[in-house]
């Protein structure tokens, strides 16, 4: 009877919620999970939300849990909630959230780098480079090279008052503006570049950014 306390199952309108005990040994948890999954009597496919509490699970542990659950054809993990993250992940997230500001003109041959977001107040001239781990926002003209999400963040964007860069890079994708004039003729004013789902860099009006990357906004909700 004591063993059965490790996993509690609750049915909600969004599917099953599995609350996993965060004090017991991981092996005990797995074996009980196996039992519960095999003894379950279900029809159709139910979505399962996992609540890990204060247990830290790395990718390997997560795979183990999921594979146990997926032994039943009726269960599918839809969401994983955890109250803890590793220090490393936390630091990475903090750095990515940080924003650095450069005021002045980035001139030919100069490189401005930031680990997180980068705000440039001034122009980025031809053959100058701005590189950021996060997104790049330029209050001025980008005429050189901009590389957002340099560490692989595919959600990073490049937004500028005037976007006529020769090269746009987001994560590991490069877009070469072979014909600067075509970009120019398409009104480079107030634009942003982002990585599409198909892996291509696209340019759109700045106004579209709130729909393209809603997570960039730190203000949520409103009156």
């Amino acid at each position: 009877m004591t063993k059965s306390q490790l996993i509690t199952i609750k049915g909600t309108k969004d599917g099953l919620v599995l609350r996993l005990d965060d004090h017991c040994a991981f092996s005990d948890l797995l074996s009980e999970l196996k039992e519960k999954v095999q003894s379950s009597v279900l029809e159709g496919v139910s979505e399962v939300q996992l609540h890990l509490g204060h247990r830290y699970c790395d990718e390997k542990d997560m795979n183990k849990i999921q594979s146990v659950i997926h032994t039943s054809p009726h269960l599918r993990v839809s969401k994983v909630h955890s109250d803890v993250i590793s220090l490393k992940e936390c630091e990475r997230k903090l750095i990515e959230k940080q924003s650095e500001t450069y005021i002045g003109i980035v001139r030919s041959g100069q490189v401005v780098k930031a680990d997180g977001d980068l705000v440039i107040i001034g122009d980025v001239n031809q053959s100058a480079q701005v590189i950021a781990g996060g997104s790049i926002y330029v209050l001025g003209r980008v005429k050189g090279i901009a590389h957002a999400g340099a560490q692989g963040n595919k959600d990073a964007v490049i937004a500028a008052s005037w976007l006529e860069a020769t090269h746009l890079k987001i994560a590991d994708k490069i877009e070469i503006m072979t014909d600067e004039l075509t970009v120019l003729s398409e009104q480079p004013e107030m634009e942003c570049a982002y990585l599409q789902k198909n892996g291509q860099i696209a340019i759109d009006r700045l106004q579209e950014l709130r729909y393209l990357r809603p997570d960039l906004a730190t203000f949520k909700g409103g009156i």
Partner: protein, 266 residues
């Protein structure tokens, strides 16, 4: 205590040496005591443009290596009594013969005796450039209305802005052909200044006489009617602190009417 101004451009052939010679001469014409330093060691030209080549005895390298006193190496331009001097570069060695500390010391010494020390910088961003800017208080960047020259000027301005103790550089746009600028074949003055976003010190028209005057060893600025000379004279006055309106529009209009006159003349 005078002021040291370095004249630089990054790209070669845009008219650094011509500008140095003409500004030096123009400042001397205004009654200032001027010393020109040619830092283009190994490829010296300033002496030729000033027509002083055959009077060189010692040079810059002799001075920094203390083979002679500074005043022994200075070549006096006799056209300006005691107001225009040249410290020529050595021709037999290269840029590495001098280091920035030596240049700093030398320029400081010359500033005591002269109102203006104009330093003619070699092309490039290497040792020669570092030597030339090391002693300067101000910098003048020369460019032409070509994209390649403007790109290099941008690079140079970046390096100058990173240099401590140097005032923000000023811009001279050289070799302007008003016809080409009006028809949009070259960048116009406005485009260049907005792109580089530094103060414009002046513009100089392209003129054949600049070359012939240089060949004769008489800077073109000595001819007060020449359009390029007017440009250089205006720049010299602005260096002295006068506010002189830019001659762009007037000049180009004059060029336009001149053309019509020429057409009727034929």
């Amino acid at each position: 205590m005078g002021e040291a101004i370095v004249i630089t451009s990054g790209k070669g052939g845009v008219g650094k040496t011509t500008t140095s010679a003409n500004l030096g001469t123009a400042l001397a014409l205004q009654g200032k005591k001027v010393c020109l330093i040619d830092t283009d060691i190994g490829l010296r030209n300033l002496d030729v443009i000033l027509g002083l080549e055959n009077r060189i005895i010692y040079d810059l390298v002799d001075v920094v290596e203390e083979r002679c006193k500074v005043h022994q190496a200075l070549v006096k331009d006799k056209r300006f009594e005691d107001r225009l001097f040249l410290l020529p570069a050595a021709q037999t060695t290269d840029k590495s013969a001098v280091n920035p500390e030596q240049m700093k010391k030398l320029v400081l010494e010359l500033k005591q005796d002269y109102d203006y020390v104009l330093i003619d910088c070699p092309a490039g961003i290497e040792q020669g450039f570092k030597n030339a800017i090391s002693g300067a208080d101000r910098a003048i960047v020369v460019t032409t209305p070509e994209i390649s020259a403007v790109r290099d000027a941008d690079r140079i301005i970046g390096l100058l802005e990173a240099e401590e103790g140097l005032e923000p550089p000023k811009l001279i746009i050289n070799r302007i052909r008003s016809g080409m600028m009006e028809s949009g074949e070259t960048l116009d003055v406005n485009e260049i200044t907005t792109h580089l976003s530094i103060d414009l010190l002046g513009i100089v028209m392209d003129d054949q006489n600049v070359i012939s005057a240089s060949n004769k060893g008489e800077p073109v600025v000595m001819d007060p009617t020449n359009p390029a000379a007017i440009g250089y004279r205006n720049i010299a006055r602005r260096i002295l602190g006068e506010s002189v309106p830019l001659m762009t529009m007037e000049k180009s209009k004059a060029g336009f009417f001149g053309k019509i006159k020429n057409m009727f003349g034929k």
